[in-house]
């Protein structure tokens, strides 16, 4: 059928941030949907958010409660959410208790009462909560046919009356097969609540949605005082990538390092600073942000190991004023340490901050802290999630600097842990070396995807003015092992008459 002859299915906003994107634009109007999941996973709250986002006095929402949570208690708890609008109660949003109909007259009594209410109110939205209890009352003694007939009659009624409807039920995944309810439904949204060690992770899946393409897979969501917020697993990946006509170089705030990098960090790159504790990774990240602010490029710092005020206070010790840009909105410091975070939530925070500030630079300090803040189940997928996040953020033109703490060995030089070096365009390695009985620091540009860079191993110092890069160590070999040898002693050994060949 050509496009002109095709019926246009309107999509309704769900009122749940992030869910419309997962559904493929919104919920199809007049669809007959099921919200399933275990107790306490947010089914009722999701239905309420949809109701309050869409119901009007002319086309209200009818919320039928049946042998589940009484409406009085539902109102008591749901009014705690910010989306709850008391003005709409009994006008746009109406609650009807059907427990007595079910007990006294069974499924047909419930259907009759719903029919009467629907015909009287002409609602745009109908919710039956809990639908499971309605069916359970008759799912015995071979009454499966009665249940199937009831579901079909209800679906027909609600669709005929142009209502978008939700049946809410506590189902387990094992009940998916051969269930007439799931067969009739146009949409099936499953909410999960997974416990992993001490953390709880909430996820949702669109198992079925007729008429449009939803995003497959499990998506994390959170319940806050604003209700549900969903995070699509393709968050930020679906838009167009920003194309750079010419490679602009961003200053790191350390002139000698810019020189080593062939002019600075290429715009839109992901740069990894790897080194052991105390080598100055965070300082370099702070100098990178401060250089951006000076150049009129707003920035974001995602920090996991110190609070925003501690972060700016530490910067001021090196003569870097981050307090002023923080106050005037050209810098945002995101501090997240909930221990059950998902990468998608972090990315949503960053994307929101990018919108607010127009940020061009992002610092993640550090990847180890970020990983620690994730719920254990998300740590398993850290590499994959980090890949998605970096791809999405660099895709909108953000230049990312991440710090990574490395354990130091004195026999080899590791460039990064997690095998994440492939995720980054550029790598700078910082490390300690022992020179003449003293601990010195060296730095090298290990990798730059988009250009030539210095191969030198340079010494550097941390001063009150920040990182100061010195000359190349010319008189030592094996610097990258951490225990270098003076070149002179190597030469004398080479020419020693006692040297065995």
């Amino acid at each position: 059928m050509n496009e002109q002859n095709r019926v246009k299915i309107n999509q309704l906003p769900t009122g749940v941030p992030g869910l419309d994107e997962i559904l493929g634009g919104g919920l199809p109007e007049f669809s007959f949907n099921i919200i399933a999941g275990s107790p306490g996973c947010g089914k009722t709250t999701l239905a309420h958010q949809f109701m309050f986002a869409n119901a009007t006095e002319l086309r209200p929402a009818l919320y039928f409660t049946v042998l589940g949570e009484p409406a009085m208690k539902m109102l008591r708890y749901q009014q705690q959410f910010t989306f709850f609008d008391a003005e709409k109660l009994n006008k746009s949003v109406r609650f009807v208790n059907l427990s007595q109909e079910l007990v006294e007259r069974g499924l047909q009594g419930v259907l009759k009462e719903i029919s009467q209410q629907v015909e009287a109110a002409s609602p745009s939205i109908v919710v039956v909560d809990s639908f499971r209890t309605v069916l359970r009352s008759e799912m015995h003694d071979g009454k499966d046919m009665a249940v199937q007939t009831f579901v079909q009659q209800l679906a027909l009624l609600l669709t005929s009356w142009e209502a978008t409807s939700f049946l809410i039920g506590e189902y387990s995944e094992s009940e998916l097969r051969d269930n007439p309810v799931f067969t009739v439904a146009d949409g099936l949204l499953w909410l999960f609540q997974q416990v992993d060690r001490n953390s709880v992770v909430r996820k949702m899946q669109v198992m079925k949605l007729r008429g449009q393409a939803s995003v497959p897979g499990l998506h994390t969501f959170r319940i806050t005082e604003a209700g549900l917020q969903a995070f699509s697993r393709t968050l930020g990946l679906l838009g167009q990538r920003k194309a750079f006509r010419s490679v602009k170089r961003l200053s790191t705030g350390i002139p000698a390092l810019d020189e080593m990098m062939g002019g600075g960090v290429p715009e839109g790159d992901s740069l990894l600073i790897a080194g052991s504790s105390g080598t100055g990774k965070s300082l370099m990240a702070t100098q990178f942000l401060a250089a951006g602010i000076r150049a009129g490029e707003p920035g974001i710092a995602a920090v996991f190991e110190e609070r925003p005020n501690e972060y700016t206070a530490r910067a001021s010790e090196f003569g870097l004023d981050l307090q002023t840009p923080l106050a005037n909105g050209t810098l945002e410091v995101i501090y997240l340490r909930p221990l059950d975070l998902s990468v998608d939530e972090m990315m949503q925070e960053i994307l929101d901050a990018v919108k607010r500030t127009g940020a061009k630079r992002l610092v993640i300090d550090s990847l180890a802290g970020f990983e620690m803040a994730l719920a254990p189940s998300f740590r398993v997928d850290f590499r994959e999630s980090l890949y998605r996040m970096i791809l999405a953020l660099t895709g909108i033109g953000i230049t990312i600097l991440s710090t990574l703490e490395m354990s130091e060995t004195f026999t080899e030089l590791l460039f990064s842990s997690y095998s994440i070096s492939f995720l980054t365009d550029d790598i700078i390695r910082m490390r300690y070396v022992e020179i003449e009985g003293q601990l010195s620091q060296i730095m090298m540009v290990v990798k730059m995807r988009r250009g030539a860079h210095s191969r030198e191993i340079r010494q550097y110092k941390i001063t009150t003015d920040g990182i100061v890069i010195g000359e190349r160590f010319r008189n030592y070999v094996d610097l990258i092992t951490g225990i270098p040898q003076p070149l002179a002693s190597m030469r004398s050994e080479e020419f020693s008459p006692n040297r065995k060949i």
């Binding site: 009484p70 208690k73 008591r76 008391a86 003005e87 009994n90 609650f95 009807v96 208790n97």
Partner: protein, 112 residues
């Protein structure tokens, strides 16, 4: 005196309608029974009163009706406990459209 018993019955019926819709007949009956228990402690004359299976009041007479306001106050008090003053006033306003100053009182409370 006949008017008084009618008034109490009428108020209970009017309150019963939104509460039955919200909480079901059994839910309304439970609330009314709890309100009556609390009211009896305050006004022993209400001991003659009982909530019947259908949610109506039994044992209502002129003397009991004099203290009817105590029962209604406790019923509204329970609504406020459960769903808050804001929603309770809105529900009452739906029943008594000319309820004086409910919105102003609400605004004052919210401002406070």
């Amino acid at each position: 005196m006949l008017v008084d018993t009618h008034a109490l019955r009428s108020v209970c019926d009017k309150l019963g309608r939104p509460l039955t819709t919200l909480a079901g007949a059994a839910g309304f009956r439970s609330l009314l029974t709890r309100a009556l228990t609390l009211a009896k402690q305050e006004s022993p004359v209400l001991c003659a009163l009982e909530v019947q299976a259908d949610g109506s009041l039994g044992g209502l007479n002129a003397e009991v009706a004099q203290s009817g306001a105590v029962l209604i106050a406790h019923l509204i008090g329970l609504m406020i406990t459960f769903i808050g003053e804001s929603l309770t006033l809105r529900l009452l306003h739906d029943v008594w459209l000319d309820l004086p100053d409910s919105s102003k009182k609400l605004e004052r409370n919210e401002a406070r």
